[in-house]
């Protein structure tokens, strides 16, 4: 017998998440079953620890961590975390918003070791610094590369070759 599909906008996790996090949920929405919350950047460690430890939500996996540049919108940058629970079979998207030329977000390296390279990649591509990261070096670009290439204000034609002409 086929399972009844979940109605597209039904909130399954958000009531529990709101009860757990209280006022730290700045905003939330649910689009076709994808539930998203926005939390303050400075509280991300506490929020993630709570989501990780809560027995009902049980988010043991950090699936992805990425940056977004929304220039010219303010606040300009977003860091997006995708959480997953294999045991409970559900997912949650958590976003923090940061601004300024040198945005800072606390690291999740201690909670999920897998966040290490994700955060290095976001630092490399967007220049978002992760406070408390033990080894925040570039991940993909080389030493000597200037700037952060996925920022919207990085010139699309700018080339920084190690050898050869700048074409």
């Amino acid at each position: 017998m086929a399972k009844t599909p979940v109605p597209p906008s039904e909130e399954r996790l958000l009531p529990r998440v709101r009860a757990l996090l209280g006022g730290r949920v700045l905003d939330s929405h649910c689009h076709r079953g994808d539930e998203t919350i926005i939390v303050p950047a400075e509280s991300i460690q506490d929020v993630m620890r709570a989501l990780h430890d809560d027995e009902e939500l049980d988010f043991e996996i950090l699936m992805d961590l990425c940056g977004v540049d929304h220039m010219p919108r303010r606040p300009r940058f977003e860091v997006v975390y995708h959480l997953c629970s294999y045991r409970k079979r559900h997912r949650l998207r958590v976003k923090v918003q940061v601004d300024g030329p040198e945005p800072v977000v606390p690291t999740l390296r201690d909670l999920w070791p897998g966040a290490d390279w994700f955060e290095r990649e976001v630092w490399d591509m967007y220049g978002i610094r992760f406070e408390g990261h033990p080894d925040l070096r570039r991940l993909l670009m080389y030493d000597g590369f200037e700037g952060h290439p996925l920022r919207k204000d990085y010139p699309v034609t700018r080339r920084q070759p190690l050898i050869g002409p700048r074409n």
């Binding site: 993909l140 670009m141 290439p149 070759p161 190690l162 050869g164 074409n167």
Partner: protein
Amino acid sequence: MGILDTLESQVDAVVGWGRKYSLFVYPFVTACCGMEYMAASCAHYDTDRFGAAYPRFSPRQTDLLLVVGTISHKLAPVLKRVYEQMAEPKWVIAFGVCTCTGGFYDNYATVQGIDTIIPVDVYIPGCPPRPEMVIDGIMKLQDKIQREKAGLLRRRTMSVAEIPSPDTLSTIGGLTPHGQSKR
């Protein structure tokens, strides 16, 4: 035309014949074109028919550098080092449009044609090229090798240091920085 010239041309023909049917390949495979390289070099298309299927993973033992796949700026010094480690005589095939011109990776990360770093003999465009195009490229290289003076008494290629810089390049008869052989 003296007897020595005749002799030299005969020697050139023999040496060229020997070289063109014993290409030891260094596959510098970085990306999706590698799948097409495997297809081209294995039984279905069988580049061994042209003596060019035996991959040697040491540049010191190879004649043909087959650059297969996108080359990023981070990797470019490695590619140049591998080329420099190969012993003369040596040839280079740019396999796939990324190695020819950068392809659609016109961005901060990608070398816009490996001929900005090392000399290239044959360009095989395509994304990826069909095995027939690869075989055609190898045959074109064989023709080129056969036509070459064997150069038993002289070196045949220019060194990497002699590749013109982009500043001088723009003054040489309208050559573009990529897509053209620098030989």
